[in-house]
Structure formats: C-alpha cells, structure tokens
C-alpha cells in the first residue's frame, strides 16, 4: 500500500493503519534522531513524538510532496527543540554548580558529547548539522536539495555542510588507517 493511500485511511479515522507507516519508517527516523541527539532513549522519545505529531497533522500534509521528507523534517525540528531545552537546562545546572562551588570546572554539553562514546570517535568530531547532513546522504541517499528541505535552509548551505563533513571524515579515516598500520 502506498503512503498516500495509508494517509487517506488515517484521515478517515483508522488509527491502526498508521502502524504501517511507523513500521516502514521507524528505523530511518530513529537512526536520524540518534545521529542528532546522541542518546538512544532520547532518540526513541523524540521519534515517538515525531510520529504522533505527524499523525495529528496529517491533514496538513501536502500530498504532492514526499511523506518521508515531511516526517524527517518534523523529527529533525523536534530534535532541535529537545537540544535547545537541554542546553538551557545544562546552562542552568552549570550556573547553579558554579554559584555553589566557584572553583569547580563544569563540562559543556558539546565537550561532553565530543568525549562520549555515543557515535564512536569519528562522528563525534563533526558538529550536529554536518553529522545529520552526511548521515542523511550516506544512509538514506538524500540529495543536498532534499536535506535542505529538512533543514529548512539553502541547498548551498547543505553542500557546505556535506563538504566539510566529508573533508573531516576523510582526514580522520586517513589518520585511523595510519594509526592502525603501525
């Protein structure tokens, strides 16, 4: 059954048929949210929220466009919201800790993610947008134009993200190879 047919049936009130869309896209969305957030549980939460938001807004879906892209755009926006909340919370916690103990060094969110083993040592070197852009390209075969629709930015900006990501990864892979040969 095609996506558009499933959507039409969902709009007529059949909630259960939405399972087909969830089953079809959950792995792609989940790995994308994980590539942005870097945390399994959070990625699962955000993916669920994205599917629910998608279902509740199905009447706004433009049937001339790709459902997958629309779903990815919603999921990506939810990831950014989550990150924003996290950042403000971590800033608040840092401030509170510093006020209590002015001499303690507090680790920033970026630094924490960089040092974590969530994505492995290579992907941690990329920033959030570079990582997501290259992920969408490599894992889902998305073009720069499609990624720009998800990011809601210019195609040229996405090309820059992809270029930077590829350059960094190439360098890292080269280093890794160099290290492993010795």
């Amino acid at each position: 059954m095609e996506d558009k047919e499933i959507i039409l049936r969902c709009l007529s009130g059949e909630i259960e048929i939405f399972e087909m869309l969830v089953i079809k896209y959950q792995a792609d969305v989940l790995s994308m949210t994980w590539s942005v957030l870097g945390d399994k549980e959070e990625a699962k939460d955000v993916t669920q929220e994205a599917f629910i938001q998608t279902y509740l807004n199905l009447n706004r879906f433009d049937s001339t466009k790709s459902f997958k892209n629309w779903l990815f755009a919603i999921a990506y926006k939810r990831c950014l919201d989550r990150k924003r909340k996290e950042r403000s919370l971590s800033r608040f916690i840092q401030k509170a800790i510093k006020e209590k103990n002015p001499n303690t060094e507090v680790e920033s969110e970026e630094k924490r993610l960089e040092c974590s083993e969530t994505f492995g040592p290579i992907l941690n070197k990329l920033n959030e947008k570079e990582r997501t852009a290259i992920y969408l390209k490599m894992s889902n075969g998305y073009t720069a134009k499609e990624i720009s629709e998800i990011f809601n930015c210019a195609e040229s900006t996405v090309r820059v993200y992809l270029l930077n990501a590829k350059r960094k990864l190439k360098k890292l892979l080269k280093e890794k190879k160099h290290v492993s040969t010795f």
């Binding site: 399972e19 959950q26 699962k44 629910i52 290579i122 590829k166």
Partner: protein
C-alpha cells in the same frame, strides 16, 4: 584524467560505452579509487545501527495516539462549550443593545409626536377668527397676520 572521463561520459550517452568508461577509469585512477574507498567506509559508519533495527515503537506510539485523540476530543469539547458560552454572551449583548436602541427610537418618536401635536394645537390656538369689530360704534375692518410663532391683529376704520 578525471576531467577527460567526465567529458567523454557526457559526450557519448550510450550505456555500454559509459559502463566501459567507468570500469576503465576506476581501475586506473588512484584519486577516484580513494574516493570510492572513502565512500564505502562512510557507508559502513553511517549504516543503521543494529539496536535500531530491533526497535518497535508502534505499541508506545499507539498508546499515546489514543490518549492524544481523547485529549483532542476533550479540548474540542471544551472549546465548543467555551465558544458556545461566548456566543450566548454575544447574543445577550446584542439583544440588550437592540432593546436600548429601540427604546431610544421610540422615545424620540414620542417626543417628535408631542412637538407635532403641540404645533398643531398651537396652530389651532393661534387661528384667530374675528366675527365683528367696531371702532367708535362703527364697524371696523380686521386685519390678521400670522407667522408660526406670532400673530398680529389690527383694525382699520371702514371708509363708508
């Protein structure tokens, strides 16, 4: 070398020739070979992780969808009752305004009516009829001049 390959690839759009060209070029060009290797290792890095493949989010999503549907219905109900109440207030306000307006109009028309009545009455009152007039025992001729607000009456001796 890559430029020449690109040029030839675009120049002759025959599938067999293009695939031959690709094979030939990629077997000899070290730059493109490296690019392919990089792409292959990137695909490995970005492959969907195993833990993701084993996940099924539908039960949780289903549960949340049903509860959110209920919430939507509830909020719609609330909104409907709120809007219903608002409508009631709006209708009541309009009815009150209409009643005041009608009352004012009636009062105005009553006032106008009374003025007219007064005017007609005053007109009747002001209508002067002189049946007989005499000056020094002789019959006199009456002259009456009336305006809406005043009446002038005078008599003249008859010339007989």
């Amino acid at each position: 070398m890559c430029q020449l390959f690109k040029f030839l690839y675009g120049l002759i759009p025959i599938r067999k020739f293009q695939s031959y060209l690709i094979k030939k070029h990629f077997s000899s060009c070290s730059f493109c070979k490296r690019e392919i290797e990089v792409d292959a290792s990137l695909k490995e890095i970005f492959a969907i992780p195993d833990w993701v493949k084993g996940e099924n989010l539908w039960p949780q999503i289903r549960q949340k969808l049903y509860s959110s549907e209920e919430k939507v219905v509830e909020t719609k109900g609330k909104f409907a009752s709120i809007s219903h109440k608002r409508w009631q207030w709006a209708v009541a306000g309009l009815a009150l305004a209409a009643a005041i307006g009608i009352n004012l109009l009636i009062q105005q028309s009553i006032k106008k009516g009374s003025y007219a009545e007064d005017a007609s009455l005053s007109g009747e009152k002001a209508r002067i009829v002189i049946t007989r007039a005499e000056i020094n025992g002789k019959e006199a001729r009456p002259y009456i001049y009336q305006t809406p607000t005043a009446s002038f009456v005078w008599f003249a001796k008859s010339e007989e």
